[in-house]
């Protein structure tokens, strides 16, 4: 049986994302998919969905959702809570890392995440896929966020789940050197691996700009004949300031890449905020494999720790604080953060 989820207010930086649009990069179609596939998997896991089922990704401010036709079960992952508006005028906080069933006509006002947050829907969003994925790629108009989204009716009732916050590792971001490390001076390579960089305000789904010590190029220079790039690649143009590519990055690029972030650390990049300090550490393929295994264990341990939510009662202060409902504190209107083409619904 089918239900629908209406988007009553679009939020800011909200898109549909799943595991990404694989297999089309040779014709210039970016990978896309969740910036943090681990948090998407966590939200899906609370609902019993496959890890990469399509959900909503929130970068700045969450949407207002309303169930239509039938009950819809929703899960939140990330440092992002919500406010549930019941049909009888009741208002309750929905904490992060939990599920809730919206009855038809009820609304959920999702707050602003610290970093990136995910809204999963039981059964996954059932919007039509395009080229094998439901992910939004705004620059080429692939999958706009519609005002009503088809989904599955919630099964059963009263079986909500919750969990503690899932956190990522900290420490330096791990990278594999190259592929164009020879385009940098020895001093630049030394600086890259020993000094700190700050995230600037320029952040979207295509990439992040960092500011820090200038990374001078070697005599080979700051231009290459364009070659393949991938999320995690760290390009350094002539100004010597790194650009970290993310899920919506182009498929090819003409700047030398000093290093490339390993897959296990890509989800961490999604949560970097302006002013955050970033350091890099070089690893080899074996260490990258160990990091992927450790991350998979972290997720499976977390999923095993989910438990039934306490029934009824008012949430305590800690839960309300964790819900992070201070949406107005986020400068969602900052034009530097969001070019028009990436605003949902335009």
């Amino acid at each position: 049986m089918s239900a629908r989820l209406a988007i009553r207010a679009p939020g800011l930086g909200v898109s549909i994302q799943d595991g990404g649009r694989h297999g089309h990069r040779h014709i210039g179609v970016p990978l896309s998919g969740a910036l943090d596939p681990i948090f998407l998997a966590a939200a899906n896991g609370l609902l019993g969905n496959p890890a990469d089922s399509a959900g909503l990704e929130v970068l700045l401010a969450g949407p207002v959702l309303e169930a239509l036709d039938a009950p819809v079960r929703i899960a939140l992952a990330g440092a992002m809570g919500a406010r549930h508006l019941g049909s009888a005028g009741t208002r309750r906080a929905m904490p992060a890392w939990s599920t809730l069933t919206l009855q038809p006509g009820e609304q959920l006002q999702v707050g602003s995440p610290r970093g990136v947050g995910y809204i999963a829907i039981e059964g996954g969003l059932l919007t039509p896929p395009l080229l094998g994925s439901r992910s939004t790629y705004a620059r080429a108009g692939l999958i706009h966020l519609a005002t009503t989204l088809p989904c599955q009716t919630a099964r059963g009732h009263g079986s909500e789940r919750q969990n503690l916050a899932l956190s990522h590792e900290d420490g330096p971001i791990r990278v594999i050197p190259g592929p164009q490390d020879e385009h940098f001076s020895a001093a630049a390579l030394e600086r890259f691996y020993t000094e700190a960089f700050q995230l600037t305000r320029q952040r979207d789904r295509m990439g992040l700009r960092l500011a820090g010590p200038r990374l001078e190029h070697s005599r080979l220079g700051a231009d290459i004949v364009s070659d393949g790039v991938t999320p995690g690649a760290i390009q350094v143009p002539a100004d010597g300031q790194p650009i970290l590519l993310l899920a919506d990055c182009q498929t090819v690029g003409g700047y030398p890449k000093i290093a490339t972030v390993i897959r296990a650390d890509l989800p961490r990049l999604a949560h970097l905020q302006a002013g955050d300090e970033v350091r890099f550490r070089a690893v080899d393929a074996d260490e990258a494999a160990a990091a992927r295994a450790a991350l998979a264990r972290r997720l499976s341990d977390w999923l095993a720790g989910a438990r039934p939510a306490a029934a009824g009662g008012e949430p305590d202060t800690a839960t309300l604080l964790a819900a992070n409902l201070a949406g107005a504190a986020v400068r969602g209107d900052d034009p530097h953060l969001w070019p028009d083409s990436t605003r949902p619904g335009t």
């Binding site: 694989h22 297999g23 089309h24 990069r25 040779h26 014709i27 210039g28 179609v29 970016p30 395009l130 080229l131 620059r139 080429a140 108009g141 692939l142 990278v175 594999i176 050197p177 190259g178 592929p179 164009q180 004949v225 364009s226 070659d227 393949g228 790039v229 991938t230 995690g232 690649a233 182009q250 498929t251 090819v252 890449k257 490339t260 972030v261 390993i262 897959r263 393929a285 990258a288 494999a289 992927r292």
Partner: protein, 229 residues
């Protein structure tokens, strides 16, 4: 003799096989040769864990799942495959693309003509006499980098890119031509406009019109050809 191709790690889930530092007809043929070899192996089920590969001007980037496909093993196979030196030309399809080189649709044509000491008509005559080769697709879905622009029309990119280049714009920069499939920012010189749709995601079998190795000619048409059908 060809130099041995280089295998470069692009993180822990991709390798770039590089045939040379520059785009040349030889490196392009070897790029397409490796892509053809990979396609045959995948069709035979002999590339488990390899997700996709991207042919570029001078290299092929192979994206794989490192948990299904040990990187060392794949590296050795790619090196052996690239070392065979196979050459290919792609499908060899030939396209004639209608382009209006007039008025508002060619905002940079006058600047190109005066910079190169030519009349507008002479520039258009050279553009329509050129047989371009699709070197790669990238930048945007379906965006073709067209090699073969004569040196007499070589121009640097604009110092300041336009914030919005309309979809269908036909452009040149360096020794390349291109057609923008989408509205986007862009720094190439706009010399015309084409009504042809270069990308359609609902055309599932072949969303992009062009493939690397295709040959493309531009044919001058009037502004009427740009009217919506």
């Amino acid at each position: 003799m060809h130099p041995q191709p280089r295998l470069l790690a692009l993180g822990d889930a991709a390798f770039t096989v590089e045939f040379g530092p520059q785009l040349t007809p030889d490196t392009q043929a070897r790029v397409l040769g490796l892509a053809a070899g990979l396609a045959e192996l995948q069709a035979a089920g002999a590339l488990p864990g390899v997700i996709e590969w991207v042919p570029t001007f001078r290299s092929v980037t192979v994206h794989f799942d490192p948990d299904r496909c040990p990187p060392r093993h794949l590296a050795a196979r790619l090196q052996a495959l690239a070392g065979e030196g196979r050459q290919a030309t792609g499908s060899g399809r030939e396209w004639t693309i209608p382009v209006c080189f007039e008025g508002e649709f060619a905002p940079d044509l006058e600047a190109v003509a005066s910079a190169r000491g030519l009349s507008r008509e002479a520039v258009v005559a050279q553009l329509t006499a050129t047989e371009f080769t699709v070197c790669m697709l990238g930048f945007l879905p379906g965006f073709p980098y067209l090699g073969g622009l004569p040196a007499s029309l070589e121009m640097p990119r604009l110092a300041t890119p336009r914030p919005r280049v309309p979809a269908g714009s036909v452009a040149i920069a360096g020794r390349m031509g291109a057609i923008y499939p989408w509205d986007s920012p862009g720094g190439w010189r706009l010399v015309g406009r084409s009504p042809v749709s270069l990308f359609d995601a609902t055309r599932a079998a072949r969303p992009a019109l062009f493939a690397p190795g295709d040959r493309v000619r531009w044919q001058a048409v009037g502004p009427d050809a740009l009217a919506a059908p």
